[in-house]
């Protein structure tokens, strides 16, 4: 309960006497006592008429108000430590009441510097305050608070601020706040802080996708630098080089932070994916990444696995996976990084943010929405989001019970909240991006088609300053004027696979916010891999960081052991359907590799099934004999993983024969005829890859695509009649339209809403069971038991215009 200033002396004497009495009485002294927390709220000028709230470790709480001098004093029945929050409607600051004073009357000034102290302890002081309890209070030790204050004072000095000798205790020290410059040294320090500007460097990355090794020169490993002519190509990327680049940038600035915009893991190369991306997390920890938004690929393996990436713990035991020291838990408990004798995975040291991802059961965000980083007297708030369309990009089981909210509304809401809490600059980390038509990096003319991101930018409020984007694997540094706010935002993206970072430098005025910026894409140019290349003077090269290099090597060695393990043989190359003369998969056709995969699904389904179907996009590679090797050729674990890299799970679903026909017709019924098209053959659609015991014929002349930017006469959903029903056979027996069949498929097709427009299994099917058997495990078992595996004969026949009856 609030107690007015006039009663303080009486109460202090009374409560001190009471405390003495209680102590004298023995063990009862730990009962709740009335504390008096007092101090000055100030930002330079007094924080007058501000609402002050106390929250103590035992749940005790009380409110009060500052007077015109910024003074407050509040009595509370509670136990130290307590958190203090003071807000005057335009700024909110926090402080800690933790035992200074006589034990009953405690001084806790509330200033931007006490906010900085609390921010040293928690990245989100407002949340720490709102959820403060006995558990949270355990981190507020005397040593922790002292260390936090030391860090804040050092940061001020680093920023060129001269500290008055009398100012040594920011929380409990004397503070006389004045509007007219007549305050004491502490007050003059606060005045001085507000009269200068501060430089903050944000080092941004996105879409790293677990590329701990240098990416190939044809896939993210080269960039073209501007050189006044046609540009010059340089080799870039690799975590060891990236580490040096980040260190170099950090060393050039007093205030810096490393941030990400999502897809830092997921769709990763084998050397990371085989450890369930624990390798990438370990490396990113070493790089000093501090906060990132989640991208769609972070959801590839579901919510539980994503939470494990943040919080730690070994990958759960399933089939060949979940073996400590083999595919999971390589970290040493003490060091929190790889050790050859490691047994744990301590999770990401950086923070995931998901402002627009809600757990529908609790209506709370999956991860925190925001993160605040304070640099001396100024602070930058980060809001992390993924694209709303994530639900269409990953398996519905992976995002079950999660809702993805509209980005604009969420950003504006949290940007306002951040500004209300006194944050000076707001940076959005969003996994959504535009596409550039620049032909060298750092093209400041910004020839970018922003697409969906542009819609978002146009709806943002003026509270936002910087947007770090991702997802589209593009590179740009742009000034973008929002349609709604008419404000200019800095919008960046830095390519993919760690080939570059964006170096963002903000000038922040504590009173005005961001007043200017500079930004550049900094390619991670490998110092030892560009011999003979003339590097333009605006760019620099980076040597390998030996620590990160060794860490990467350790994980690569782990992956090699597994990758080289032979799991079976093939009697010749087993290929996907490909566009003629290319290595691009043709989803409109049946392929041998898809057939083998479907056979493996059927073989590995617990309890069996009548037949199996696989989405064509789930067949990611061919299996080929190594050069010079005669069949039967060995097939390794690593090779099979490239075919089935998604960690999908086998799923059983019951459907009727009539529903199977409907499912097959959906192959050509994507909305607006947007299924895949082979321009050479005019075939369109996504042809399910089927097991050997499902055979049928379809008529390509029905609803055939003729011409147009999109085919205009393919069947609308539910109306297709391409399948020749009389030809459909299961195990050589004609399909019974009324009979129920059990289908083996994956969770992408069988659970939730069904992916790639195949809704029949997920929506009409019955008794759906996710067996939790990984499709990769099923593939490996199939090769172990059925080798040598050969290219199967086609199961699907086509009637074309040439073969159709006149």
């Amino acid at each position: 309960m609030p107690i007015n200033k006039k009663t303080i002396l009486f109460c202090s004497i009374f409560s001190t006497s009471l405390l003495t009495l209680l102590v004298a009485c023995g063990p009862f002294y730990n009962v709740q006592t009335t504390l008096f927390v007092q101090g000055i709220g100030a930002v330079g000028a007094p924080l007058s008429n501000a609402t002050v709230k106390l929250k103590c470790s035992d749940g005790g709480s009380a409110d009060g108000t500052t007077d015109s001098s910024g003074f407050y004093s509040i009595g509370v029945v509670g136990k130290l430590p307590c958190l203090v929050q003071a807000s005057n409607g335009s700024v909110t600051y926090h402080s800690i009441a933790a035992g200074s004073g006589d034990g009953v009357t405690v001084t806790a000034n509330v200033t931007p510097l006490t906010e900085a102290i609390v921010n040293q302890i928690s990245s989100d002081p407002a949340t720490l305050f709102s959820s403060f309890n006995a558990t949270a209070a355990t981190q507020l030790t005397t040593a922790t608070i002292a260390n936090a204050q030391t860090a804040v004072l050092k940061n001020l000095t680093d920023n060129g601020v001269t500290l008055p000798t009398a100012v040594t205790n920011l929380i409990g020290g004397q503070l006389v706040a004045s509007k007219t410059g007549n305050g004491n040294d502490y007050d003059k320090l606060l005045d001085a802080l507000g009269s200068k500007t501060y430089q903050v460097k944000i080092i941004a990355m996105n879409d790293f996708h677990g590329n701990i090794q240098s990416p190939s020169s044809t896939n993210g490993g080269q960039v073209t630098l501007p050189n006044g002519g046609a540009g010059v190509k340089v080799n870039v990327g690799g975590a060891a080089y990236l580490a040096t680049a980040i260190k170099t940038l950090k060393q050039s600035a007093t205030n810096s932070i490393v941030v990400g915009a999502g897809d830092l893991t997921g769709a990763s190369p084998f050397e990371s994916s085989i450890t369930h991306d624990e390798a990438a997390i370990d490396v990113l920890n070493q790089l000093g990444l501090e906060v990132t938004s989640v991208g769609n690929h972070e959801f590839d393996y579901g919510r539980t696995e994503l939470l494990r990436k943040q919080n730690g713990g070994c990958f759960p035991v399933t089939g060949d996976f979940g073996k400590v020291g083999v595919d999971t838990c390589f970290m040493d408990v003490a060091t929190g990084t790889y050790s050859s004798t490691g047994t744990t995975f301590s999770g990401a040291k950086f923070k995931y943010l998901s402002a627009n991802v809600l757990d529908t059961s609790t209506n709370k965000t999956l991860f925190p929405a925001t993160y605040i980083k304070r640099f001396g007297p100024v602070s930058v708030g980060f809001i992390g989001l993924t694209l709303k369309g994530t639900t269409t990009l990953v398996s519905s089981t992976a995002v079950a019970n999660l809702s993805f909210l509209d980005e604009i509304e969420v950003i504006n809401k949290y940007a306002q909240a951040l500004k209300d809490s006194g944050v000076n600059a707001v940076t959005v980390l969003i996994h959504q991006g535009g596409v550039s038509t620049a032909t060298t990096v750092n093209d400041k003319t910004c020839p970018v088609s922003f697409g969906d991101l542009g819609t978002i930018l146009d709806g943002l409020s003026s509270n936002v300053d910087v947007v770090v984007s991702g997802h589209s694997h593009q590179e740009y540094v742009c000034d973008y004027t929002g349609a709604k706010s008419k404000k200019k935002y800095l919008v960046t993206q830095t390519g993919f696979y760690g080939g570059a970072v964006t170096d963002i430098n903000l000038t922040i005025d504590p009173k005005k916010g961001v007043t200017s910026w500079t930004a550049n894409t900094v390619p991670v140019i490998q110092a030892d891999k560009n011999t003979g290349v003339t590097i333009p003077s605006a760019f620099q090269t980076f040597a390998k960081d030996s620590t990160v290099d060794a860490l990467v090597t350790s994980y690569v060695n782990v992956s090699k052991v597994l990758a080289n393990k032979q799991v079976g043989t093939i009697s010749g190359n087993i290929m996907r359907a490909l566009f003629t003369g290319t290595t691009n998969r043709d989803e409109s056709a049946e392929g041998a590799m898809g057939g083998v995969m479907a056979d493996a699904y059927l073989y590995g389904t617990p309890g069996g099934a009548d037949f199996a179907v696989v989405n064509p996009g789930g067949v990611r590679a061919d299996l080929t004999c190594a050069t010079g090797v005669s069949p039967p050729c060995p097939v390794t674990y690593g090779q099979v993983n490239t075919v089935a890299p998604f960690m999908n799970t086998l799923t059983k679903v019951n459907i009727t024969g009539a529903q199977l026909i409907r499912l097959l017709e959906q192959q050509w019924e994507a909305p607006n005829c947007t299924a895949k098209i082979n321009p050479a053959t005019f075939q369109y659609g996504r042809l399910l890859q089927v097991s050997s015991n499902l055979t049928y014929t379809f008529d390509t002349t029905v609803n055939a695509w003729t011409s147009g930017p999109i085919p205009t006469n393919c069947a609308a959903a539910g109306t297709g009649k391409r399948v020749v029903v009389s030809t459909v056979k299961i195990n050589g027996v004609s399909l019974d339209l009324t009979k129920t069949y059990t289908v083996s498929t994956n969770n992408f097709l069988g659970i939730g809403t069904g992916g790639d427009n195949f809704t029949v299994l997920a929506k009409l099917g019955t008794q759906a069971v996710d067996t939790k058997v990984l499709d990769l495990d099923a593939m490996i078992s199939y090769f172990q038991d059925k080798s040598p595996v050969s290219s199967p004969t086609p199961r699907i026949q086509k009637i074309t215009s040439a073969t159709a009856s006149p």
């Binding site: 990416p215 020169s217 044809t218 896939n219 993210g220 490993g221 080269q222 960039v223 073209t224 501007p226 002519g229 046609a230 540009g231 769709a267 596409v435 550039s436 038509t437 620049a438 032909t439 060298t440 990096v441 093209d443 003319t445 020839p447 088609s449 697409g451 969906d452 589209s472 694997h473 593009q474 590179e475 390519g495 993919f496 080939g499 570059a500 003629t580 003369g581 290319t582 691009n584 895949k676 098209i677 321009p679 050479a680 005019f682 011409s707 147009g708 930017p709 999109i710």
Partner: protein, 148 residues
């Protein structure tokens, strides 16, 4: 076969066309109405297809090819679509997006064929897609030289 001009198997034929162009640049400009058609087509392709650029260039190529197929008889629209295809792939090459080298060669050949037909210069075409024209034109000319 109506798709023949996009068939990668005959790419060398188009590359030869590119070599020819490199040797003697045409000098007759597009009319204003032709320029408008080219720019409009490039813009349409930009809006429809650039968003398909992601892990690789495949979906982008599919999208541009579909647009080109719309106009089986060579016309200015095809030039706009093909040029956007070329610039999109060339742009993807600056960050080595997977398959960007292949599709750049492909659309360079297609574009060169159409540029020859309409007697248009690189410099004239460049403004139909946003970006730094001096750099882009230099790069395109360099690519042609490397093909010889």
């Amino acid at each position: 076969m109506r798709w023949v001009f996009l068939n990668l198997n005959i790419l060398p034929i188009f590359m030869m066309g590119g070599m020819f162009l490199c040797a003697s640049q045409p000098s007759i400009a597009l009319t204003n109405s032709q320029k408008t058609i080219v720019q409009s087509a490039a813009q349409q392709a930009s809006q429809l297809c650039l968003k398909e650029m992601h892990h690789d260039t495949d979906e982008f190529v599919d999208c541009v090819n579909n647009l080109i197929e719309t106009h089986k008889i060579f016309d200015e629209k095809q030039l706009g679509y093909a040029y956007l295809g070329l610039v999109g792939c060339l742009s993807a090459m600056r960050i080595s997006t997977l398959h960007s080298d292949i599709c750049t060669s492909h659309y360079l050949a297609v574009t060169d064929k159409l540029m020859k037909k309409y007697k248009v210069k690189d410099e004239e075409l460049c403004s139909s897609v946003p970006g730094n024209c001096s750099v882009r034109v230099a790069q395109i000319k360099s690519l042609r030289r490397k093909k010889i």
